[in-house]
């Protein structure tokens, strides 16, 4: 079959950088914009879901995916890489549940997923993942919402609000102005839509964006009709 590489394809450059990871981050930066905002009583994830042709059946594929009843994730970058990570995250979360009979806390899941992403920067014959992930969850013990980002390098950090993908610099600047610690979930959804709108070309409808919310009752993706209601209050 094909030759098996035993060396890592991600190697250091003389300047001390891992070029493959830089390139992976570049792949993320040209991906579709996604936004995450943490409110006092929940977290919202939103992303642009523009399809290349009107012939696409847009509701058959989802960019915002649940991992457990209380945790959801979204990405910017390569869709197929996201699919693989979602499967891995779900398996890791289920294994935790099997051992401890308890839902995995968000920060624990983030550490495990980030570990997976790091493995692919230090193994033979593989390339780093071309996605940055946003994980949103509700910590049942502390009764607090959490928003985390995972990068192709395996780095992970918690955010109050962030934007990824195309135009993420403007997105973050917009959020810096708009974010406040007293934001509630409803307002956070509103703000997320406005942030997406900053980089949106054309008319925003309930079919070309996806929104997911996470609160004390768990994580769920909003239906197109719910998104339509939010869009009506924006424009």
């Amino acid at each position: 079959m094909s030759e098996r590489y035993s060396f890592s394809l991600t190697t250091f450059s003389p300047s001390g950088k891992l070029v493959q990871i830089e390139y992976a981050l570049a792949a993320v930066a040209v991906g579709a914009p996604s936004v995450g905002i943490k409110a006092t009583n929940g977290v919202v994830l939103a992303t642009e879901k523009k399809q290349k042709s009107i012939l696409y059946d847009e509701h058959s594929i989802h960019k915002i995916e649940p991992v457990t009843k209380g945790i959801g994730m979204v990405y910017s970058g390569m869709g197929p890489d996201f699919r693989v990570l979602t499967q891995r995250a779900r398996k890791l979360a289920s294994q935790y549940n099997m051992t401890y009979q308890e839902q995995i806390p968000v920060d624990q899941l983030v550490q495990k997923v980030a570990n997976v992403m790091q493995e692919f920067t230090q193994s033979g014959g593989v390339r780093p993942f071309g996605v940055s992930l946003l994980l949103a969850g509700w910590n049942a013990d502390e009764e607090k919402p959490y928003l985390y980002q995972c990068d192709p390098s395996g780095a992970h950090f918690a955010w109050k609000a962030t934007a990824m993908g195309r135009n993420h610099v403007n997105g973050k600047t917009f959020l810096e102005k708009r974010y406040s610690d007293t934001l509630e979930l409803e307002d956070a959804v509103h703000t997320a839509i406005l942030t997406l709108k900053e980089s949106f070309e054309g008319q925003m409808t309930e079919d070309n964006i996806e929104i997911g919310i996470c609160d004390s009752t768990g994580f769920r993706r909003l239906t197109p009709s719910e998104i339509k209601d939010y869009l009506a209050s924006v424009s």
Partner: protein, 205 residues
């Protein structure tokens, strides 16, 4: 000769009002020969979480070590104290991993929830089948005698001092009717802000 009665042990745990008690005998014997009277079978796994391990003594020591390892990793990773119910699942998982070559221990768990202080007791068989109750749990070579004593002496919502008397009488009179357990006893009363350890003066036979 049954493996679970090779060394002999008697352990029980009871729920009280905002407290739990766990008590065990102190005999370490090899069949009929008593070797020592200060063998610990109840171990502290957290400020308000205790596990009692009756059964084959070598497995008591190994399960304790392996469990402590898993618990330490958990607390380091998650940066929080484990809940008694989660701990029970961890023990169950550890035992079931050896489903077809089990550890010969049948643990008893007693503790208070780190946040709410709610009492929790549970026991399980040697392959990890858990049993959570609201009154008492027993395990060991004289479990039938212990069940009889607990069933007659236990009542709900006992204060810490009354719980101590109840569990002491239940344990002592049960293991006095068993040849391979006894030779001293230790009782832990676990309350939200303190744990009291008392040794019982018992028949040394």
């Amino acid at each position: 000769m049954s493996i679970l009665s090779y060394n002999g042990a008697a352990i029980m745990a009871m729920k009280g009002k905002n407290c739990v008690a766990i008590a065990a005998d102190r005999r370490f014997g090899i069949q009929a020969q008593t070797v020592s009277m200060d063998f610990d079978k109840v171990f502290e796994m957290g400020p308000n979480l205790f596990i009692g391990l009756p059964g084959l003594a070598t497995d008591v020591q190994t399960v304790l070590a392996r469990l402590k390892f898993r618990l330490n990793m958990y607390e380091l990773r998650e940066n929080r104290r484990i809940k008694p119910k989660t701990f029970m699942s961890m023990v169950s998982n550890l035992l079931y991993e050896r489903r077809f070559g089990p550890y010969f221990v049948e643990p008893v768990i007693a503790g208070l929830d780190p946040k709410s202080g709610e009492p929790y007791i549970a026991s399980m068989d040697l392959i990890g089948c858990p049993m959570e109750t609201n009154d008492f749990v027993v395990s060991g070579t004289c479990s039938e005698q212990m069940y009889g004593m607990c069933e007659s002496l236990w009542e709900p919502d006992l204060a810490p001092d009354d719980l101590f008397e109840t569990i002491s009488q239940a344990l002592m009179n049960a293991f006095d009717r068993d040849a391979v357990s006894g030779w001293g006893a230790v009782v832990y009363i676990i309350e939200k802000d303190k744990v009291t350890k008392r040794m019982l003066k018992t028949r040394q036979d």
